[in-house]
Symmetry: C2
Subunit: 418 residues, 2 copies
């Protein structure tokens, strides 16, 4: 008699995502294009790698003095120090006051997993995690898994074709007392000074706990300091928060998934307590983090010449992004596509909203084999000299067709993400 | 008015472990020795690294064809395939029947974290996780964290000075129906054929789920196949199980903490369901695993010449261990230390019990600055030509002193770990 499997009740899991990519891969059309890769791409459709990284990999491989022992659970000390200085500045007062610290985390979601576990244990009564971003983030799953009620908002306004600061403020004002507020990439959301003050007041008075997602410092504007201003502002306002600082994308070492959970507290005593509790979570999660990524990054950040090379590579990458966006806009203008398309160049970074509606997106996928997410937020670095004409002409067709069959202009991307 | 910290209720965590190492590090005595490092050490007190690894690191760094994109959540396919073949053999029937699979995990505890999460969700009614090993393992924390009741047993018999198969069987027979049984390093536990049959019967009839810990294949006896026989036996008996296969120690790439959660099921359909559910857990845990360690290992395992070099390096390392143990035994014999000390050479691998009691251990730490765990299980590769005389003379002193002040011989290591 054959035995029964202990797994007989385990069903196949529903796919979390990746279906757009799968459909693209199965498409046999020679013109097919995928515009939703996560990372910065080169003109040759390869993932971007900072030039300095190749050199460092070789140096590391040839260095006989390196020790390959397990890292401590907290991670590589020099890596943590250098990464914190990158975020807050070498002369940050909070660093000097020893109230900023971090632990070396694993993968792209490790910092959220670790931080959310900590908050689940130590943040009394936090039942809600609200994720505000310019796109749907994977972190929602982590909080859901830990029994948080999760609200996810994209603050893209499909009418004004920009990120909407009023929507941002509105969402925060209506959060329950003590909620966790995950703040994703909102660098293009322009708050006025009055709005900033209002945000600070709401966060403080409602005891909302900010948890920043900081996945690619420098790859939005090319200016590392400018992109970190929001964090420094929160520090200067005396706020305590967590930040998931990922350093895979801005070095182009995606397959090493390396980052930090950054902790900012009011004083050193609280910092030490929080870090010690995080150590206990790490003992259970991964015991000690992998070293390769951290080693590459530390080698660059701690050497002024290499640091300069890396910064220049970021600037070059961002210039490339700006150029491709300008070309897309220019081509759409030359084609006479209705609309201003200024929103394309007004958005920073690899990703941005095209501002198309569902029908137009559908047309691009089904008729033109151009795969873009339903909210029309694409990775502009997937557009290159080889495919730009096909893509812009197709967008033009999609807009004209939809214009004929519908009144009005792109409006259908929703600000509340299902 | 200064604000109150949101962390005001967070106390400093109690240290999980590491206090022996800390005491050692703070000791200023010039003779101090630490005999409890986790990994295989060289005669120069460096962590052992397989010679082939240095070469591969350089090859990888210089390879222009490599792509550094994020790995899929499941991990590197070629790495998984090669690692499974290492465990079960290239011509394993279970692999050919597609009922053995694995996912690439992170850190030394990642496979346990992942597997335990899966079991918590899908194994109805499993309330108990029992860990049987020759030492205290860190995995207990993982199961405790997931609300398992955790029993931990070392099966070392301090009277017979060997691992005790009867104790092993006894423990398993008294486990509640459906318990998870973590089987650590028990390679030195010699079960008779009758005992094996009894074990299989108990596991099957009590629906006990085996979860192997396989941290350093090849570093016990130098024979990769021989060390995996127990797994192949379980497969041949039609058992389903998990196995945490770690490959950091047997390559000497400790700081990349790389391994697999291996899944064995009765058929391919169940395997696919289990793997798909594991993918969901990974999305939340680390999203995608780091590549460096897997790349090194795959390069070695998939190249017959490099594979041969690696196997030879394992044999050399094991020969070194055997030699040092023989020398320790010989020196104790020459010193006339009471006892046979055969148990030193009868235990395989880096670690083994000295068979000392608490008083003797205490003497070695406090009087001789030789740091060993209270159960006297030391890492023999921490003993080298520079410190062997001091260590053996000290052991001799400890045994003679304790003999004078106590009747009887070392007996005080407990088989139930607190």
């Amino acid at each position: 008699m054959p035995s029964l499997s202990v797994f007989m009740d385990v069903p196949a899991a529903q796919k979390v995502d990746g279906s757009l990519l799968k459909t693209y891969q199965q498409d046999e059309d020679t013109n097919k294009v995928f515009l939703a890769y996560r990372v910065c791409m080169t003109n040759e459709s390869d993932p971007w790698v900072s030039g300095v990284v190749h050199k460092i990999r070789q140096q590391i491989a040839q260095d006989p003095s390196l020790n390959y022992e397990y890292l401590p659970s907290k991670g590589m000390k020099s890596f943590i120090q250098a990464s914190l200085e990158l975020l807050f500045g070498k002369h940050s007062q909070a660093i000097m006051e020893n109230r900023v610290g971090g632990v070396h985390t694993v993968g792209d979601s490790g910092a959220f997993q670790l931080g959310a576990q900590f908050l689940r244990i130590w943040s009394r009564g936090a039942q809600v995690a609200c994720i505000i971003s310019s796109q749907k983030e994977p972190h929602g799953l982590i909080f859901k898994d830990l029994d948080y009620e999760v609200y996810e908002y994209s603050i893209w306004d499909p009418d004004q074709l920009c990120l909407d600061p009023i929507l941002f403020l509105n969402v925060v004002e209506h959060l329950p007392q003590g909620s966790v507020l995950v703040i994703g990439n909102i660098i293009d959301c322009k708050l006025t000074q009055v709005q900033w003050a209002k945000l600070m007041y709401t966060i403080k008075s409602r005891q909302i706990f900010p948890f920043f997602d900081f996945p690619c410092q420098g790859l939005n504007t090319g200016d590392l300091e400018e992109e970190a201003i929001i964090l420094q502002y929160f520090v200067s306002q005396g706020l305590e928060f967590f930040c998931s600082q990922s350093l895979s994308q801005n070095f182009g070492i995606y397959d090493e998934g390396v980052g930090l959970l950054v902790v900012v507290t009011l004083n050193n005593q609280h910092l030490l307590c929080v870090l010690s509790q995080l150590m206990n979570c790490i003992q259970v999660l991964w015991l000690s983090p992998p070293a390769m990524g951290a080693r590459i990054i530390t080698s660059v950040l701690c050497n002024p010449a290499l640091l300069g090379e890396w910064k220049q590579s970021l600037k070059d990458a961002v210039e490339g992004m700006i150029l491709i966006k300008e070309k897309v806009k220019e081509k759409l203008r030359l084609l006479g596509t209705p609309g201003s398309w200024n929103h394309i160049t007004e958005q920073t970074g690899t990703h941005g909203y095209l501002g198309l509606n569902n029908q137009q997106v559908d047309y691009l996928i089904k008729q033109k084999h151009i795969y873009i997410p339903s909210n029309s937020r694409i990775n502009f670095t997937c557009i290159n000299t080889h495919n730009i004409d096909y893509i812009t002409e197709s967008i033009n067709e999609a807009v004209l067709l939809a214009k004929d069959s519908q009144s009005g202009f792109p409006k259908s991307t929703h600000s509340y993400l299902e």
